[in-house]
Amino acid sequence: MKIVVTVKLVPDPNAEKKINAQTKRLVRSGVETVLNPYDEYALEAALQLKERAGGDSRVTVFSMSPEPLRETLRKALAMGADDAVLLSDSGLEGSDVWATAYAIAAALRKLEFDILLVGGLTDDSSTGAVPGALAEHLGLPCVTNARKIDVTDSGLQVERETDLGYQTVHAPLPALLTTALTFGEPRYASLKGIMGAKKKTIATTALGELALELPVGTAGSKTELRSFAPPPPRGKGRTVEAADGTTGAQAIFEFLEEKKLV
C-alpha cells in the first residue's frame, strides 16, 4: 500500500509568534520550525497503516515549503517515513488557501498513492480548508476526522468523529483522509531512525514542473491580508486562595453576583 502524508512546516506552536509589520508575514527567525502537530498525528496513523499492511508498503511525506526548511522534513523520515517530496518555489510565496491547495494538488498528481493522509488543521493558519480542496482537485472521496481506519478488499472502512458522536463510512480507494488525534502520540524518532533518515531522499519539485494553468503566490491568491493587531488585552484577573471549599465557593459566588451572572 502506498500512503502519502501532507505535512506543513510551521513555527513552533509553543513559541511566541510575531508578524513583521512591513511584510505582514510571520517572523520565522528565532522561532524553531516544526512539523505541524496535526500532521505528525496523521503521519503516526500512516506509519501504523503501513505496519499493518506490511509487504512493500511505503509512506511518503509531502510538503510545500520554502527550501531553507527542507531539513525539518528529516524528522518525518526519522520517525519512519520512507521518503519525502518538497515543493518549493519563490513563486509560491504569499499563496493563500486557494492557491496553496491548487499548487499542492498539482504536485500530488505526480505521486502514486492509495491513501492520501492530510492533517485536519494547521497550527498557524487553521483554516482546515486544504483537505476538502485537495479532495475536490484530485477527485478523491474525502473522509475527515477518521479515528479508526481499516483497509478491506472493497476499500476503506472508517470510523470518524462528528460533532455529535461518530459515523462509520465506507469509501473506495484511492481516498483522502484526515485523522483525529486518536492514533496515539506520534512516535519519537529512534537513534537508528535518525541515522537512517540521513540516507533517505528528499526530492524537490519546482513550479515549472507542474505546468499550472492559473497563477499562484500573491498574484494567484483570492484573499489579501490588510491588517492585523493583537486582540484587546483581557487584563489579568483576580486570584483568590481558597483555604477550604466554602471560601472558594463563596468567592466565585460573589464574583458571579457582581457580574450579574447568577
Binding site: 506552536p13 508578524i19 482537485h137 462528528t162 491568491s221 493583537p230
Partner: protein, 327 residues
C-alpha cells in the same frame, strides 16, 4: 460577490442556532452589498427548517430534502451548495465554522473558485469589497482580511459571533433540482454519543472539566449539577477526552469545539494554548485550579486556587439556594 448565501446547517433536522445567526447577518451584509440574502437547506427535515428560517430576514431559501444528503458523506451537500450558489448568483457564502462546515467550505472553494477566510467573527463591506475579521495564530493576532473582488467568496463563521434577530416578510422558497443519486463515500452508521440537551457551542454557560478531575465520575457528580444550576452545558479538555472520561464531542479547543458562552468555568484545566483558542473569547472566565501558576491564570477573570472537589459542590449549593430565593 453581490448576494449572500447561508449554508443552513442542521443535524438530523435539529436546527443549529448558528444558522439563525448567519441568516440575520446575511441580511446586513447583503444590504451593504446591495444584493439579496439567501439560504440553502438540505436533507431530511429541510422543508420544516426552511419554514423556520422564513421568520428571518431572507429573500430566497433554496430547499432540497434529498435523502442522499444523510446517506453520503458531504458529496451531495457540496453538489447542492454549488447549485444553490450558482442559482443565487455571485455571492459571499457563509458557512458555520464547525467540523462539517470546514469540510464543506474546503470543497466549495474549488467548485466556486473562491477565496476563503476562516473563523470569521466580523464582516464589513468597504467600497464593494468584503472585509473579514478573524483571530489567527491561536488568538495571538486578529486579522483583517479582504476577499478580493471575484464572483464568489467564502467565510466560515464562528458560532455565536453574531446575534440572531427575527424579522422580514417571509422568503420565497425555491426547490433545487435533484442531483446525482449515488456517491462514493457512504455513511453506514451515524451514532450519537453523550447526547446533551444543549449544544456546547450554543450554551450560555459552559462548565469544563480537565485532567484535574481524575476520572469520569466527577463529570456526572460535580460538573453536571453545577451546569444544571447555572443553565449551562458540560465540556472538557482534550486530556479528559483522551482519557476516555467523556466523549470527544465535548472537547473544547483547537481540535474540538470553539465556545463563546457568557460564563466559562474551567475546573481542573491548566489552560494549554490549544485549549485556550477554543474558549478565550468567552464573556467571563472563572478557573478553579490547585496550582496558582497554571497558564489559565493568565487569561481568567477569576482564579480560585483550591481543590475542585471541595469547591464545586459548595458552589452548586450556593447557586441553587440563590435560585430558590428568587423563585
Amino acid at each position: 460577490m453581490k448576494n449572500v448565501l447561508v449554508f443552513a446547517e442542521h443535524r438530523q433536522g435539529k436546527t443549529r442556532k448558528v444558522t439563525f445567526e448567519l441568516a440575520s447577518e446575511a441580511r446586513r451584509i447583503a444590504d451593504a452589498l446591495g444584493g439579496k440574502a439567501c439560504a440553502v437547506v438540505l436533507g431530511s427535515g429541510a422543508a420544516q427548517l426552511a419554514e423556520e428560517l422564513r421568520s428571518y430576514p431572507l429573500d430566497t431559501i433554496y430547499v432540497n430534502d434529498d435523502a442522499a444528503v444523510d446517506r453520503y458523506l458531504l458529496d451531495p451537500v457540496v453538489d447542492y451548495l454549488e447549485a444553490a450558489a450558482k442559482a443565487a448568483g455571485p455571492s459571499l457564502v457563509l458557512i458555520p465554522n464547525t467540523l462539517s462546515g470546514r469540510d464543506v467550505a474546503g470543497r466549495l472553494i474549488v467548485r466556486l473558485g473562491a477565496g476563503i477566510v476562516a473563523d470569521v467573527v466580523e464582516v464589513s463591506v468597504e467600497d464593494g469589497a468584503v472585509l473579514c475579521v478573524s483571530p489567527k495564530l491561536g488568538g495571538v493576532l486578529v486579522t483583517h482580511c479582504a476577499l478580493r473582488p471575484a464572483e464568489y467568496g467564502i467565510a466560515t463563521v464562528r458560532p455565536s459571533a453574531f446575534a440572531a434577530a427575527r424579522g422580514g416578510a417571509g422568503a420565497t422558497l425555491v426547490a433545487l433540482e435533484p442531483q446525482q443519486k449515488t456517491y462514493p463515500a457512504a455513511i453506514e452508521h451515524d451514532v450519537e454519543e453523550g447526547a446533551t440537551e444543549m449544544a456546547l457551542e450554543e450554551a450560555p454557560v459552559v462548565i469544563a472539566g480537565g485532567r484535574g478531575l481524575g476520572g469520569p465520575e466527577p463529570f456526572d457528580a460535580l460538573l453536571k449539577p453545577l451546569a444544571a444550576a447555572l443553565g449551562g452545558a458540560v465540556g472538557a479538555s482534550r486530556a479528559a477526552a483522551d482519557a476516555g472520561w467523556v466523549p470527544y464531542n465535548l472537547q473544547i479547543g483547537q481540535t474540538g469545539k470553539t465556545v463563546t458562552p457568557k460564563l466559562y468555568i474551567a475546573v481542573g484545566i491548566s489552560g494549554a494554548i490549544q485549549h485556550k483558542v477554543g474558549m478565550r473569547a468567552s464573556g467571563t472566565i472563572v478557573a478553579i485550579n490547585k496550582d496558582a501558576a497554571a497558564p489559565i491564570a493568565e487569561f481568567s477573570d477569576l482564579l480560585v486556587v483550591g481543590d475542585a472537589f471541595r469547591i464545586v459542590p459548595e458552589l452548586t449549593k450556593l447557586i441553587e439556594k440563590a435560585k430558590g430565593n428568587h423563585s
